[in-house]
Each structure stands twice: as C-alpha cells, then as structure tokens.
Subunit: 313 residues, 2 copies
C-alpha cells in the first residue's frame, strides 16, 4: 500500500462544477411542472433534475405508525441529501435513492451524473445551511393555500391512488409540520414565485393564473426596467416593493388574464434582452400539461433560464 | 444566500476517523466467515461490515444479456464504491445500495454509519488505487482453486438457489475475469491468507484445513518470534520466505491437523503477546458455522484483531 492518504478528487480529472438550482416548496406547489420545462429547454443531455422526496427515510407503510409525516426532517435522510448535494456541486456522480410515489415504496437506487445543470426540487432543498450553500440559484414556490390544496387533491387522486377525503385529511395532518419546516425555506430563496389568482380581482372561473415573483437582491437579476416600462404592457410589470418582513424587493407581476399575443410580445422582448443572443425562447416553456400553456409560467421559466445560463457563463 | 462556498465537512463536528479493513477475494473465498468473527469480537456497536457486491450495477436478470459477469468492473459502480469508501474513511455515513443474493435483485438502500471499525469485504475493495488508499489494513483471501470451487458449489446450491451444474458453468465463465480483475488484487494486500490442505501431505478426508499467511512488510506486524520459536510448537510456525514474485515475506503456517488443545496453547500465547493486556481471546473467533470451529481461522482472526486495535490506538 504505497499511498495511505485519502483523496476526495482525482487530480487532473478536470470535472467542471455544474450549476445547481433549488426549487423548494410544499407538496403540489408546482415544482415538477416548473422543473420539467427547464430540463426540456436546456436539454436532458446538459441538465438533470432530481427530487428530494427520494430521500424519504421510511416507506409509506412504515410512515403509518410514525408520530410525524413525510414533511418532518426526521422522516428524511437530510444528512445524506446534504452529502449528495455537495458531491453533485463538485461535479461528482451520486447513487441516488428512489422513492416510488405510485407504490409508496423505496426501490433500487439510480446513478445521477451531473451535467452542466442540476435542478433539485422538493420539500427540503433549502432546509439546512449546508444544503443551501450548494446552490447557485434558489427558488421557493409559494402559491396561495387554497390553490395548492386544490392542486394536491387533483394530483394525488388522479396519479397517486388516494381518495379526496384521504388527501384533505393528510393536508390537515401535515399543516403544523408545513409551518415548522417547509414554509421557513421561503426566507432563504433568491426568488419567491406565487402562481395564483390576483387578490381583489373577480375574474371568471377558468381565467389563467397570474404570477407574482419576488426578486431578492441576493443574486444579480437582469435589468428589466427598459423592457418593462410602467404602462408599456398590461401583461407584465415590475415594482419596487417590500417583502412581508419589510426587506426591499423587486416584484414582477405577470398577469394571466391578458391575451396570449400580448404576453408573447413581452416574452420575446424579455428573451431578446436577457436570453442568449440569436436564440429564441424555447418552445417547452409555459407548458402545464399537453395542450395547456401558461404565459406567467413561461416568463418565470425564462427568467430562471437566464439565471442558469448566467451562472454557467 | 449568505454563504456560497461548499463545505465538505461541518466544522467542529469532531467525527473520528474509523479504521478500515479490506478483505478482498474471489467468490466463496471465505470473506464472510472471516468477517463475521471479527465483527462479533469487536461488537456490532463498534464495528460495521459491508460487502462490495452491493455495488452491482445490474441485477441478475439484466446480467443474463450482458457480455461479462459480475466479476467485471463494468458490471459494478466502482466509482460510487470509491466515493463511499472515502466518505466512510472520513467518518461520514453513506446510503449504501443493497444487492439481494437470494433474489438477485437490487433493493432499497440502507444507511451505514461508521463506528470505530469498518470491514469491507468483496470482489473489488483493492481494485483501484483510490479504493486502496482508504484502508488501514488490507487482506486478500487466496484459497487453492479446488478448495474455493468446492466451497462455491456448496454455498450457491444451499443458499442461493442454483444447481451444481449452474455453479460449475458459472465458475468456468468467470475464470478469465477472475484472472484479469480479482486475482491481481493479491499483490496489493498487506496479508495474504490461504486456507487449504497442506501441499504434499496425505491427510485423511475430514482433516481440518491449515492456513498459510503471507505477512508483507507493508504494515508493521507484531513480533511473534518469541512466541513461535522454531520447534516450540507443531501447530504454528513462522518462516522467512519469498513471495511468488520474489519479494521477501514472513510466512506464518498454522496447521489444522494438530489437536485443539495444542492450538489453544499457542492461541493464548499469541493473544497474551499481542492482545490487549488482561483480555482473553474472544470466543467468536474460529467459528465456521454453528458447532464447527477452525483453529487456523481463529489465529488468523486474532492477528487481524491485533492490527485493527493497533490502527485504532
């Protein structure tokens, strides 16, 4: 044994540090939808995504006899999640655990090799300081609770084999842990995204949701003041504001009720201003499901795409 | 995001580096038996063991259509194994994959938290330089091929649901990869252990196996010259020798055909000389199965126990 020292990285291997984006938020806050469009826009050969739900410590059957829900840190391998984030952030592959939401079982792990971009979505990516330190850009999804509850009922009944009553009971059960462990992550995000109806407006049912983005000065945001001069567009406007805790923020409002043509003009202007020169806004942006689009989602993804490309430059 | 730097270890956490022992060798070379006695002697609260078979990249069904066997490095997550060895060597927990030898499936991973001692047994622990650098003591199990083949047939038929013909066919299939990837690890071991009949002797069937231990000068071995003066004992003797490649080594011969009382005297003398003062040789040493003991195995384990305790001191 000529060499007894432990080396963490092989010398001269030249792995490049990927860019890491966190998308944190409560269950059914829209994390997967937001992530999917970004992965498609960047291309799966350059961008991988993973979900921190895979770090569940117990399967669904085991959780039934536990005094806490999946939203409690003790119900998750938080330390292993931190370790894997650190490995990915330094360009190394991980063997990631897999939680099957269909069956509620923990199954065979899978190899994740970081490309240029890694998107980490889930309940806990911003829970600890060590985890937060691994990210280049951090997002918290913060829909109004009635919107999120409706999304969760719809999804869990359609895709995860629960009844409506089971989902509503689970939401009530989770509320204290949501308040204690999930929502505090909002304070640690560079960008807070709220998809929802605009408070005070009485739009007819079926009106597309709007988005409000808090842009915190913790990362440099693109200068949108030229593109978004006050009064220039009904679709999008930027405002200097105060966060709920009094801290100054920029707020970007993107209105869902505006006709698509109008949003598209703004989208193109933003992309021309912040996108890579000569490129077009990727087609995949704004897609909710097959055939269903959201302009506020597209513009949110556009902004995140800009941040990812900037961080990689 | 106040802190963008990636820290690999939390400051001030004070985790102690555990002692790592590698036990490498081909399939059915006796790795699990050797390991089990050491874990029991040290206590499962201080010592964990893991098997590198868990790092199989493909399950049994997938392997049927592959052009190589489980003995090929490409059939294993070697890079993840290296990563996990490095993490364990620095005192960190891992989420270890699990290969089920009964079903041939890859299943739910399990948390491994290193205690004071970690024993890593398997086909590949000494395959790469990075892996070798993680160990404090390294062992290669090198039984004569006829002995190993007999062990493999016996175990795989009794415990893994194969027929005798299947095991023999598998042994032939594996031979080129065994020569290419497994046996070269012998050159990297501090101690090479050969359990088997003594060449040239015609002992009756059922005579317990003897052991020959090559003690390479790559780690400091205990001074056994006083205990094992030539002619003092028929059971155990030490000799200056040359390895097959001509390198000088000490060879410790432990004879299985000697009556237990005689071996036990030597065992006690060795333990008094090298064991912790005031302790007795642990009862668990030398156990092959329930009710079946091997003095050569006990004395081999005694020597390894000494090395582990020395490295931890």
């Amino acid at each position: 044994m000529p060499d007894k020292t432990v080396r963490i990285r092989r010398a001269g291997e030249g792995r490049r540090r990927p860019v890491l984006l966190a998308i944190a938020g409560d269950s059914a806050a829209g994390k997967t939808t937001l992530t999917a469009g970004l992965v498609e826009a960047l291309g799966p050969e350059r961008c991988v995504s993973l979900c921190t739900d895979d770090y569940h410590r117990y399967d669904r059957a085991q959780r039934r006899s536990l005094p806490f829900t999946a939203l409690h840190p003790d119900c998750n391998y938080v330390e292993i999640m931190e370790q894997h984030l650190q490995l990915l952030a330094s360009g190394q592959p991980i063997l990631k655990p897999v939680y099957d939401h269909g069956t509620g079982e923990l199954t065979r792990p899978e190899l994740v090799e970081p490309g240029d971009f890694v998107i980490v979505e889930g309940l806990f990516p911003l829970h600890t300081k060590l985890a937060r330190a691994c990210f280049d850009v951090t997002v918290y999804l913060d829909p109004p609770e009635p919107t999120r509850r409706a999304w969760k009922v719809d999804r869990d009944v359609r895709k995860r084999g629960y009844t409506r009553e089971q989902v509503l009971a689970e939401l009530d059960l989770r509320e204290p842990e949501s308040a204690a462990y999930i929502r505090p992550q909002r304070a640690h995000a560079d960008i807070v995204v709220r998809f929802g109806p605009i408070p005070g407006r009485t739009d007819p049912a079926g009106t597309p949701l709007s988005a409000e983005l808090l842009l915190r000065p913790t990362i440099p945001h693109p200068d949108l003041t030229e593109v978004l001069q006050p009064g220039l567009s009904r679709a999008v406007h930027l405002r200097l504001d105060r966060d709920t805790d009094g801290r100054p923020v920029d707020t970007l409002h993107i209105h869902g009720y505006v006709p698509r043509e109008e949003s598209l003009t703004v989208e193109k202007a933003i992309w021309a201003s912040i996108g890579a020169p000569g490129t077009r806004a990727p087609e995949s942006l704004g897609r909710i499901t097959v055939g269903e689009r959201s302009e506020p989602l597209a513009i949110t993804q556009l902004l995140l795409l800009h941040h990812l490309l900037e961080a990689a430059a």
